[in-house]
Symmetry: C2
Subunit: 167 residues, 2 copies
């Protein structure tokens, strides 16, 4: 597996910027609302969904074991797709740049507790990968009738390690 090993890094806004948005309370505009009883952390992500067909779904995902064999990434031509965890456990985020030959070498991130992500429209990414437990997510994406899934299977799987894992 030499050369196919990828170590996940903690998710940061900067590192993830080419692929989408990090949804958390850091690093953006916020202001009090409701007479001071609440605070709005505004527009952490914007949807980019064709035909205005934005739907809100719940995904329930089973956890993965590590090191993880990554064989597949996917992308959605009709819309951005946001994943917000409904519990505080971290999850794994995998993305890849597009190249003339398909997705390049994946990058892997581990979220901080409470962070979500929004993948840009048509950006290669891994499937939903909880780490510690069965986990529910609010998912905001395209809900129209057009085919919205493109998959890419790597000839050889990548092996993803969590930060600090002994190999």
């Amino acid at each position: 597996m030499t050369g196919r090993k990828i170590v996940a890094h903690p998710l940061t806004r900067e590192g993830f910027a080419p692929f989408g948005a990090v949804i958390d309370k850091e690093g953006g505009e916020s202001y009090p609302i409701n007479g001071g009883k609440a605070r709005r952390f505004h527009a952490r992500a914007k949807t980019d969904v064709l035909d205005g067909a934005v739907v809100l779904n719940i995904f329930e995902g089973a956890p993965y074991l590590f090191p993880l064999k990554l064989e597949l990434v996917e992308r959605h031509p009709h819309g951005s797709q946001a994943f917000m965890p409904l519990t505080l456990a971290p999850f794994l985020v995998v993305v890849a740049e597009d190249t003339p030959d398909g997705p390049g070498e994946p990058r892997a991130f581990v979220t901080h507790s409470g962070q979500g992500v929004s993948y840009n429209r048509n950006t290669w990414h891994g499937v939903l990968m909880p780490i510690e437990e069965v986990q529910d997510f609010l998912v905001v994406d395209y809900g129209g009738d057009q085919k919205n899934l493109e998959e890419f299977r790597f000839e050889q799987p990548w092996e993803i390690h969590l930060p600090g894992m002994t190999v």
Copy 2:
């Protein structure tokens, strides 16, 4: 306060239907995805946001004491607004029908653990009201430049009780 007392009821899809959608894993279409590792509870809510200007925000709300004096409701002419709690505590949902004189008598609901709601566009509703703790929500709503807030202040406040509260 006789005549101004409202007892909140457990949130149900049927009771809330005139005002919006309940976001949970019950009562709708669901199917396996990702080779069976996850399940999609599809389209629990659809956004109705003008100009396609959908944004994802986090609201951090402080809890309210009960019985609660409800003096104000609001509505948003440019878009539906969904609130999904990021922890499992319940929260209070208040809505009111529109009448020629403004909002009618409010209805109050307490969510079950893990339920969210989406208010229909231009539907009168109370502000974000956590019950037990400071609570974060993912909020999906209009993020454009038009004025999107209309408020209505009741001449006399309503008094909202939780189910099972002694009076």
